[in-house]
Amino acid sequence: MMHTDTAPPGTAAPVFFATDEEGHHSEGSTMLGFWLYLMSDCLIFATLFATYGVLGRNYAAGPSQKDLFDLTGIAVNTAMLLFSSITYGFAMLEMDKDNQRRTQLWLAVTGLFGVAFVALEIREFVHLFHEGAPPWRSAFLSSFYTLVSTHGLHVSFGILWLVTLMIQVQKYGLVAANKRRLMCLSMFWHFLDLIWIGVFTVVYLIGVLE
């Protein structure tokens, strides 16, 4: 892509096809643009992590991480997201083989793991509310809910996007536009799993220490 920008107008076309032969994705610019969006999303999460890092030990005499968190449940949640990552990977491999039925199958499995993750997270929040730990209880809980529910909302919208794309694929097949969309969602989905590593490490595991 860069070559086309720097080359004089007359030579643009041949250089363009030369870059294509290097084995890159032909969807190059979309993928780079979407990656830049993910990096900006990463900054949003970084500010929320920083907020949690600053406020995470201010309990206002309320419950602490150790009183509230059930690590077994978090381990199950982590497993759901990790499974959904590899099943989305399988969906992409089937997409490359133009096998529409299997792509749809793996996407459906991915969606179910995603739904399980969100359901478990909602159950955890309901449980915390019953334990007397709503967001307004302390600075720790405010920052905790903001960080974790922002991630949960991302996953929820990812599921919505996934269902939308499954309908698109069902209607129009694995055309180039749908493949490009599925590749964007793939990056989005794996990125959310990566953010979750930060969440369970910093919020849950390190939280219950000390």
Binding site: M1, M2, F16, F17, D20, E21, G23, H24, H25, S26, E27, G28, S29, T30, M31, L32, W35, L36, M39, L43, A46, T47, F49, A50, T51, G53, V54, Y59, A60, A61, L71, T72, A75, T78, A79, L82, S85, I86, G89, F90, L93, D96, K97, A176, R180, M183, M187, H190, F191, D193, L194, I197, G198, T201, V202, L205, I206, V208, L209, E210
Partner: protein, 131 residues
Amino acid sequence: MSADATHAHGAPDHGPAHTEGGHGSVKAYVTGFVLSVILTVIPFWLVMGNTLDNSLVTTLVVLVLGGVQMVVHLVYFLHMNTKSEGGWTFMAMIFTVTLVAILLSGSVWVMYHMNRNMMPAAHHELLQKMR
């Protein structure tokens, strides 16, 4: 626009290359998955079993393992490398990682010292520290 045009031209003749370089292989995904499982199970085991009996060491080990797992995800699931898009995805990532590092360490560092030097500790917080 141009992306669609190239796709139409390029799709038929580099099918196998596309599969190979594009979204990895079953082997790459399974490798990433197995590494992730290992790098997830170890920190949970360390914390839940209180294996190391030292929360500072456990914190550091858990942080390092989390960082390694993020790299595993980047390489095996997000197919990050220094060459795709002419190196621009990698550059964008390095830039973001730098910003995030400054943002995280700076916030925690500055606010920690603000707390220590300027805020008189409230009565209940003192009690909590003693507990």
